[in-house]
Amino acid sequence: MYRYDQTDRELLRQRTEQFRDQTRRYLAGELPEDDFRQLRLRNGLYQQRHAPMLRISVPYGLLGSAQLRAMAHVVRAYDKGYAHFTTRQNIQLNWPRLEQVPDLLAELAEVQLHSIQACGNDTRNITCDYLAGAADDEQVDPRAYCELLRQFVTLHPEFYWLPRKFKFGFSGATTDRAATRTNDAAVHVLRRDGVIGYRFFVGGGLGRLPMLGQEMNGFVPESDLLIYACAILRTFNLFGRRDNIHKARIKIVLREWGIERFRAALETEYAKILASDEGEQLRLWPEDIERMGTHFSAPPYRPAHEAGADLAERATHDARFAAWLKRNVRAHKMPGYRVVFVSLKAPEQAPGDCTAEQFEALAQLADAYSFGELRATYDQNLVLPDVAERDLHALWLQLEAARLATPNIGLTTDIVACPGLDFCGLANAGTIGVTHEIYRRFDSLEAQYDIGPIRITMSGCMNGCGHHSVGHIGILGVDKHGEEWYQVTLGGSPGNDASIGERVGRALARSEIAEGIERLIHTYLERRSDEEETFLECYRRIGLAPFKARLYGTEAEADSEAEAA
């Protein structure tokens, strides 16, 4: 993990004091609400009448055990004993009190956590492949580049007041596990003929008009990470629209200009920086990258004969352990090691929620079994990245005890959802209750295993925090005359085969939505070519029509009309 030096610590301390003074002035009536709004957003705070929300950045999704323990403390001392993991690998607190937030942030600063630029029109926390450093398909470990960029964009004065939020997502592997192209800029770190560079995409974004990032440059040299990022941010700062908040993301500039004009402007700015003193300052030297890389060096893995174990033997005696091994454990690049997924999708749990006790248990398990590290995933689950095979059974028992071992990773009940109307001031409709209803319909593991890999995602409003646009089945909550309704999209995907889901038709009522999802899944089960064909593959083969016909069958129409009447 990155370890702060004196500069990092002091800068964060001064920043926390800056916010403390801003909060003091606001509470004293010296700072108007509108002015304070801009400032608190840039410190992670959405202030709502009854439920303020504090978003804490988890840089590239990486958490250490000391941070997990601090989270346990903070959610007990300042909140109601739990927090929520988001689709951008961050953590949200739902109930802190504004006047206590500066103290809360000062405590988090002790363990290198902060809320700088967690909200607001600025460069947000950088997301990254949650298997960075551990994946068997990794070309280049992206974490050092993430941290170099994090420092560059943190409190960058030129880019602190952007037209709208700006998100970077990183991957260094052949499989995209960070939904990178849903970001304003995606950075794929890769090797070409043995030389490291970056493939840059720009213009992705969910929310209104969901779009996927378009390739701008297939190979930016390794030294030019900050230069290219600066060129993108500068182009956005100058040309992003400021007349309409719904048209202010960089994707709109791309759409209005077209890819070629945008690329030409970006490459021109890139060339100008390269040719100037600024380029000299921003150019990374090999030793800069190497020095940063030492923070992310491989943990002291034991040799395979010490770490490995024959898991088949144990699995034959214990079906539940076997199910967990099959669903929540993945291959690791090191022989004798595995990647373990921690499910935050237990029955009746709001997707992504984590209690103080669970934070503590995770800290202890990370220390005992994964070199003190944990990752947050964009599916709102967690990952213990480096677990020796022979520790798996002991780890499983303890995860079970903490309700963190539901064997449903990537399955029907692994539903992604924002907090929705129960918590969020922006939401139009509830999400948590709907996820529970869908969950109950598919609670049987046999049913889930039969359905296979599927990604159900749900957002309580158009902003799309629940990534509904890139769900195989996406659900979007909408408000119709004060009632909660739900629009369904099909065929979205956040990965290598990224696509934006297609809207099926009219929205479904609250009473219809869980039944509707079940119908869609049954359509798939009936129409799939064989058990190997996944929901997404089946959808792409047979198209929207069969799903639509089933979803709006005459029976359902009659029902909904009766309800509406």
């Binding site: 029109n121 420092q151 880019f159 602190y160 800069d288």
Partner: protein, 173 residues
Amino acid sequence: MSRILRHRAIVEDDWTLAVDMTAAPSAADRWIVPLARWRAERDTLGAGALGVLLPNTADVETLYPQIAASPVIALQFPAFADGRALTQAVLLRNRLGYRGELRAVGDVVRDLVFWLGRCGFDVLVPRPDQDLEACRQALDEIRLAYQPAADGHTPIWVRRRASAADATGSNAP
């Protein structure tokens, strides 16, 4: 005359921002006028006596050859969260080498001051309701920086090169 921040000091402003003035300026007036007016007047007054006010949509790189001689370039913040003029300022200072007075006008509030200072503004004209002394102090709200801007901060990665060299006893820069 209003009071402003110039080079970190609170002083009386000796320039007048004349957005809609119809009277012809004289060389003694020290007016800052919009670009179109500036173009019309500079030949009679001499570029040295007239400051120019640019909209935050102006392409400073294209304009610069015309306005380089202006002793004052005023950049606008229609709302303090509209940061376009921050990029204009950085480009004027770093890329174009403008060394005259760069002033921030408009919705200039105390909580924008720190960012203005880092981007190369040396004259700030705070909104009339702002406490000037508080604005002055806000210039140093945060005294460290990771990245270069237009205020002379050495990037953190460059400083770490130097400290790594120190740590190994090397004489490298």
